[in-house]
Subunit: 132 residues, 2 copies
């Protein structure tokens, strides 16, 4: 039995899981790499048996994944695409999620807004606003 947990409101759908790596190009030479200067990461998307995984490479020493890599932590977040990011943040707050920063446009998603949410129970989630 799988219990549905509706944290992010109607229309939310799983997008990817983030996985920290030292070098995307060393692993996937033909990957399409996007450099997101705001997030200080380089990213590329891979599909492993139907699971969409965002490979995340630090683009600076203060990148948020630098620490993860140092600790050997590979999986760093779950990303959910939502119709309206502010409505999803409001829904998530009722389930114990805190917004870590205001939504900002993301290079990897055609400048659509993303936001970071954290729950002590469920960890780090990324919200991505769906294309209109």
């Amino acid at each position: 039995m799988t219990t549905p947990l509706n944290f992010f409101g109607p229309g939310a759908r799983a997008h990817h899981v983030g996985l920290a790596v030292q070098s995307i190009a060393a692993l996937v030479p033909d990957a399409a790499i996007t450099h997101d200067e705001t997030q200080q990461v380089k990213v590329a998307f891979v599909d492993i048996a139907g699971q969409c995984i965002e490979l995340i490479e630090p683009a600076s020493d203060t990148s948020p994944v630098t620490d993860s890599l140092a600790k050997g932590q590979k999986l760093v977040h779950v990303a959910i695409e939502v119709p309206q990011i502010e409505a999803a943040i409001t829904a998530a707050r009722a389930h114990g999620f805190h917004r870590l920063a205001r939504p900002v446009p993301a290079t990897a998603f055609d400048e659509r807004p993303i936001a970071w949410l954290f729950s002590r129970q469920y960890g780090l989630f990324e919200l991505i606003e769906a294309a209109k």
Copy 2:
């Protein structure tokens, strides 16, 4: 662009992502909890916007997720269902995965065999043999 990475051979399909928690019952009171004595964990499955997530609670002080929780590491593995576990292990070895232990029956999957694979690049993966 999403690059397909075929690590586990034909017929492999994503099953879930594992997430360590202190107490499943405290988070999801109506969850169907399975106690896997071999793995020293209690588990339950939830669906977050279409992403299947296995909540994993330590069932002993030496549980493999005890350390993860102590370090604040929530996401611990990606699980893939495969038609034949030995064939999938062979396929994965060619992509740098090491088998951590021989396949064992898993309570959470009707005693179907599971195996743990580790890659320094991609981290920890679980293989689950599909039902015949």
